[in-house]
Symmetry: C2
Subunit: 366 residues, 2 copies
């Protein structure tokens, strides 16, 4: 086992085993230790949709870290409220680790964009059209107030099909903004991850990676993947560059993906993931299983009194039938979203844990 | 303590104390014993909205009996599904007592009415407009398949402002239908309650009460109250007639009401209640407290980090602030409905239990 102290006090990263490029490790934070690879449930607006903290903490789900969205929390309830509460952990009554994104991705995907310039982004709220400005310093200040354990650099993420010159401008900005984020005040015990952009051109990615990894961040993320490009392209970039990220720091693939994507990315050397897929799919009727994915609205489940997945240890599968879940889904009952979300998050947690156990069992001790 | 065996095997009713007309008792059913007075959470479509069975069972809420709606469950998921599941207890994974209504009230309030005749009601589903017919025998058959512990007679409930001749026709039908319900097959261990109608004319109520109480039902309900008449009229009728219902059987006031209504009705001699008020109000932002009722959307709660109610032992009040709940409500988060429902149901459960304790402490042993 190798242990690496990360630049921010209170954080360290242990490598326990490797299998090819895949790694099994532990990330220590001031709000607990996180076995990696890890899938982080997304808690957009201060709640992982439909779930309580107790449910997230209870085995077999046992989430050690969740995501919070800077853009959403900044707009609602607003910084004043979260500052008065004493930060996001206290506001949401979540005592384990939190990672916050920078708000950049939501500004580019959700907000009505006014303008991007070298200093930052002016945008209009998707809630009420009000005008706001996000810069590296503003994003870092919001994340400081949120008090997340891991903050992310404010970056510019171009679409998958962006032209080369668009990428070059975005890369230059992302590097300059990363430096400004690094130099901005942070909360005590708050780590900061840098983000590598560059699209699917691996030469460009490597060039940006060199710029970002030179800044001594606590961890490194790959951004701008699975943003519209073909999945084979995503996998190719991961296979080529993920393992080139510094081995002694955690590696995070942002916003990805399916269980299959996670398997591939872990094999390529990634340690951390987040995605709305398990939670959003659950609410829309799509349930992950060890076999075929289940569309719970299908008539075939109408009188199917078996669980979603015979092999799943979650409370939903232990208690309720597909027929009952289908009924709740058809009747638009809130209980459906709860039971389905618990199941899908448990599926993701187990999926990643099973891969981790395989790395530990079949790999080389680090 | 007086113990009365009810006509249906497996059911008995104990009177422990009385205070004026108010009674503290225990209703024993095949799915557990229920301290009365009791408030029964409404589980319209096979789920008390937003709640799991575990949450309903956990103290301090500790619900011993919930309601199921015959009309809703008949239309969706349909009888075939519930029959294949082995009844509503198994379908919904609820192992405590269930009371089902007859479907009559929903047919009159939700469905597009074709025609009422002396044999039953033809109506169109509010879901898809399909045509259905409900008669006393059909209602009893649905309730037999649902397998509730307590079935209710199929009755006709006229609006609060109905003319005298409308009431007279409805009364005659309700009596004839009660007889047909009594003579219809029931599930093993399924009790049947009769329903007394008659509006706010107490002479008419007493006349109908004599007809219904002569049929040896396991319990008696007052229907057709709080259906549009002034609340003083409701209270007057309760004060005059509730205590005249047979003392050795449970007395149930259907679909009522506010905490104040419950206090008044218990004083008048009522033992059982159901109402969507705590659950529906919760979802709409109205929270009951030992002081003023809280409208959680009020700006005043924006940065109020105290609980909904300092004196409330529910998990919501133990964990979360008004500010967090307001944020979840504004953001239309599912978690809001869960936390608010748990609180309001706990408030109702405690309200009724506190009255029961007062009857036991200050009343006469029965």
């Amino acid at each position: 086992m190798k242990r690496f102290d990360l630049p921010t006090p209170g954080f360290s990263f242990e490598l326990h085993a490797t299998l090819g490029h895949a790694r099994a490790g532990v990330l220590h934070t001031p709000h607990g230790s996180i076995e990696t690879p890890v899938f982080m449930p997304v808690g957009t607006a201060g709640t992982v949709k439909a779930m309580t903290a107790d449910e997230l903490r209870a085995p077999p789900l046992d989430a050690k870290i969740i995501l919070g969205n800077t853009y959403h929390l900044y707009l609602r309830p607003g910084l004043e409220v979260i500052e008065a509460a004493g930060g996001l952990h206290k506001f949401a009554a979540w005592d384990r680790a939190i990672l916050t994104d920078s708000g950049g991705f939501q500004v580019f995907s959700l907000a009505a964009l006014g303008e991007i310039d070298d200093d930052g982004v002016t945008f209009r709220s998707h809630l009420d059209g009000s005008k706001h400005r996000l810069t590296p310093e503003v994003s870092m200040n919001i994340q400081r107030v949120l008090g997340s354990d891991i903050a992310m650099c404010f970056d510019q993420c171009p679409p998958g099909d962006a032209a080369a010159d668009v990428h070059e401008v975005a890369l230059a900005r992302t590097t300059a903004w990363a430096r400004r984020c690094r130099d901005a005040p942070r909360a005590t015990g708050q780590a900061l991850f840098g983000i590598v952009q560059g699209g699917v051109d691996t030469a460009r990615r490597r060039r940006h990676m060199a710029e970002i990894t030179a800044m001594d961040f606590d961890g490194h993320a790959l951004g701008g993947l699975a943003v519209g490009e073909a999945i084979e392209e995503t996998y190719r970039v991961l296979d080529e560059v993920a393992h080139e990220l510094p081995a002694e720091r955690p590696r995070y693939l942002m916003g990805v993906g399916t269980p299959q994507d996670l398997t591939r990315a872990i094999a390529a050397g990634i340690d951390m993931f987040d995605c709305v897929m398990p939670t959003r799919n659950a609410r829309n009727g799509y349930l992950f299983t060890s076999g075929q994915r289940v569309n719970i609205s299908n008539h075939a489940h109408r009188a199917d009194f078996g669980p979603i997945d015979e092999t799943c240890p979650c409370a939903t599968c232990g208690t309720h039938s597909r027929a009952y879940l289908r009924h709740l889904f058809q009747a638009k009952e809130i209980l459906y979203a709860r039971l389905a979300t618990l199941h899908n998050l448990t599926f993701y947690a187990r999926h990643v844990r099973q891969i981790r156990e395989r790395i530990l069992a079949d790999g080389q001790p680090a």
